[in-house]
């Protein structure tokens, strides 16, 4: 009897749809919405690890606004995201245009290009850590052997060099994301559009400017927003190579949140730092969703 009633209920359109959505919604609610909500709430408490917190309103945020380390971290995160995403886009697009041509070994080079993206980040971070090592960097060693350097380059000891070094590592890792995305985009552009342009006399950069780039624009929005989200929340590269040092010069929001919230036990403050990223991430996510909707 019960099975029959259930079957009858599911036959109704008003029931069937929600019934299909409920398991996924419950899963998302439990594993994503609840922890996220809890995290936001913790940002308004003075919670410490192992002890319940008290509601303190926006006090954590007020403190952070006055905290020079947090302000430096905000600057680092913005710079890191803007510079690396822009360069990853340019390099990724350039490589995709090259790899979209027909030449010997193109399949091989396409596979090689994916390597930085598929190698576990922590492994590539260790490799970059060695490359930037103040004593054993092969870059310093080579330049010294060529007589171009007297002292090793202090890649990670100088604030700006450390930021730049981390950006290089991030660009190396993230460029294939753009390349593969653009390569797929380029191959989906119908050839007859190019043929028509050629008949009209368009050549080289003009073809790119008038045809390729406009057709890639929706894809660019998607790739850029996703890449910005990944970069904004980058943790492993920074934590492995510098741990936010020297003297907090390379902290990003997530590394500072981890250092203070988890390692240091100041859960409320850590949650507030992580909470600061939410509005920016929400805007990026909205932009990505909108671009996807427009493209489809």
């Amino acid at each position: 009897m019960a099975a029959w009633r259930l079957s009858l209920a599911l036959d109704r359109r008003a029931w069937f749809g929600p019934a299909l959505v409920v398991p996924a919604a419950a899963l998302l609610g439990l594993l994503l919405a609840y922890p996220l909500g809890l995290g936001v709430w913790l940002g308004f408490e003075d919670a410490k690890i192992g002890a319940p917190g008290n509601f303190i309103g926006v006090e954590n945020y007020q403190y952070l606004l006055d905290d020079p380390v947090f302000r430096l971290t905000a600057m680092n995160t913005a710079l890191y995201t803007i510079v690396t995403v822009a360069l990853k886009l340019l390099l990724g697009l350039g490589l995709a245009l090259v790899l979209n041509q027909r030449f010997g070994g193109v399949r091989f080079w396409r596979s090689v290009l994916l390597l930085p993206y598929v190698v576990p980040t922590v492994l590539s971070a260790f490799a970059w850590w060695w490359i930037f090592d103040p004593q054993f960097s092969f870059i310093s060693w080579t330049l010294a052997k060529l007589g171009l350097l007297k002292h090793n380059i202090d890649f990670l000891g100088d604030s700006w060099l450390a930021r730049g070094s981390l950006m290089i590592a991030n660009i190396w890792r993230g460029t294939p994301f753009f390349t593969i995305g653009y390569l797929a985009g380029l191959q989906s552009i119908p050839t007859d559009v190019y043929e028509a342009a050629q008949i009209d006399g368009a050549r080289g950069f003009r073809v790119f400017r008038e045809i390729t780039w406009p057709l890639l624009t929706p894809l660019t929005v998607i790739l850029t927003t996703f890449s910005a989200i990944f970069t904004f929340t980058d943790f492993q590269l920074v934590w492995t190579i510098t741990r936010g040092g020297p003297a907090n010069a390379t902290h990003l929001f997530v590394t500072l949140a981890y250092q203070r919230g988890i390692v240091g036990g100041s859960m409320g403050e850590g949650a507030a730092i992580a909470g600061v990223t939410l509005p920016a991430l929400a805007v990026l996510a909205w932009a990505a969703m909108r671009a996807i909707r427009e493209r489809t």
Binding site: D46, A51, P134, F136, L156, G157, T242, N248, Q259, G264
Partner: protein, 435 residues
């Protein structure tokens, strides 16, 4: 949550039943436990992975002996030392997880009300084997007025130096004052052999030497009341002025050093002095015998305060109140720290961990190679990381946030004046110690 807890209890119950059926229940007749071990007890221990393989092998063998003696099986989870704190804190928050933990520094003082009173065990061990002063600071909770941790020992550090280069710089023996160290460092640099201390976010090495230097000059983060922040004072400014002199003699690149960097630089002959545990020497004996021959260790020199002020990563064990087998857990720790088990364990570690009990300073591991002796003595020369306050959440946060280390980096690498660097540190400490 309730469902999950019930499931875990059920799971543990089944596991306990299976364990008690599969292991011989009759305890060895000779062993007389001090605590009435619960029936069908079984334990889960969370601890840091051994710095050398022999540590875990010996610890596992002793745990097996405990099972043979008491019938209590112990399952041990080894994780990276820096991961113990978040995992133990999670267990404390959720009220489920390992029965006991071997953690670091302030861990038990972060959630003292969730831990079993281990005063009877600590006092028994202390009476028989004698605690060092620092052990009491880490094990006894002033908040709870009883022992909440059973001190295990410290990953004691010493200054590693090259003997021939020190002599080349005109010193016959390693200086025992901070000013003497600056002079030696200057001489070494002139001879092309700079020294190097980590100024990057090196959790072990960076925190160890900067706290020692600060305390050696009379500086401290907080007073004994755990409220009054006293970093921005003359003693700190002096320490920072002096450290600028020392930093000027260091190898380039120390600003970015994490914990492994100084090991590599020392073994490559890039630096003449650095602070570290015994691991550099162990690696040198294995792979660079000529360096092992030419290196030695010295305890950290004494500063103007006139007494040793060292810091080492310190471990202690604690038992959660949610454990169903607190007596078994206490008995386990008593068993493991008693001479029959602790002596071969300490010996197997070759000086990586110096026990918190004085009795074990007599072990041959500290004298069969005299170069290991400073690691024995370091534990008697150390202060808790919370100095001059007490271990707890505030001190843990200050250490994790590299407040002192960053102050040193600010005053050296970043070119801030000592007063500016101290003021920045003061701001952060005020926040951490508020309320």
């Amino acid at each position: 949550m309730t469902l999950r807890r019930s499931f875990m209890k059920w799971g543990l119950g089944v596991a306990a039943g299976a364990a008690t059926r599969s292991f011989a229940q009759a305890p060895a007749a000779k062993y007389a436990p001090m605590f009435p071990v619960e029936k069908d007890a079984q334990l889960r221990l969370l601890r840091w992975s051994g710095f050398i393989k022999a540590d875990e092998e010996s610890w596992n063998a002793n745990s097996k002996k405990f099972q043979e003696a008491t019938g209590v099986p112990v399952s041990i989870e080894y994780i990276t030392w820096e991961d113990v704190r978040p995992k133990a804190a999670m267990a404390a928050n959720l009220g489920t997880g390992p029965d006991l933990v071997m953690g670091w520094y302030d861990d038990p003082h972060i959630y003292p009300q969730r831990l079993v009173d281990v005063s009877d065990l600590a006092e028994d061990l202390g009476k028989r084997l004698g605690w060092y002063d620092v052990a009491r600071a880490y094990g006894y909770s002033k908040q709870m007025n009883h022992w909440i941790g059973v001190p295990i020992g410290g990953a004691v550090q010493a200054l590693n130096y090259r003997i021939s280069w020190m002599k080349e710089a005109g010193f016959d023996k390693f200086p025992d004052t901070t000013d003497g160290l600056i002079k030696l460092a200057r001489g070494l640099k002139e001879k092309g052999h700079p020294m190097g201390f980590a100024l990057g976010h090196a959790v072990g090495d960076g925190n160890a030497w900067t706290h020692w230097w600060l305390w050696a000059h009379g500086g401290k983060a907080v007073e004994a009341d755990d409220k009054t922040i006293s970093i921005n004072k003359q003693e700190t400014w002096t320490a920072l002025e002096k450290v600028r002199e020392l930093h000027a003699q260091m190898a380039p690149g120390v600003a970015s050093w994490l914990d492994p960097n100084n090991n590599r630089a020392f073994l490559a002959g890039e630096v003449s002095i650095t602070n570290n545990g015994i691991s550099i020497y162990t690696a040198a004996k294995k792979d660079f015998p000529q360096i092992a021959q030419d290196m030695d260790h010295a305890n950290f020199p004494v500063g103007p305060v006139g007494k040793p002020t060292e810091l080492a990563v310190f471990s202690q064990a604690f038992i959660f109140k949610y454990s169903r087998f607190p007596n078994a857990a206490k008995e386990y720790l008593r068993f493991m720290l008693s001479p029959e088990q602790a002596e071969p364990w300490v010996d197997s570690m070759n000086g990586y961990i110096t026990p918190a009990l004085r009795k074990y300073r007599e072990l041959p591991v500290w004298t069969r190679d005299p170069k290991a002796t400073p690691f024995r003595d370091g534990i008697a020369r150390m202060l808790p990381n919370s100095y001059a306050g007490s271990p707890g959440q505030h001190a843990a946060a200050a250490l994790a946030d590299f407040v002192v280390l960053d102050m040193f980096a600010d005053a050296t690498v970043n070119g801030h004046t000592p007063k500016d660097a101290a003021k920045r540190a003061e701001g952060r400490l005020r926040r951490i110690y508020r309320g």
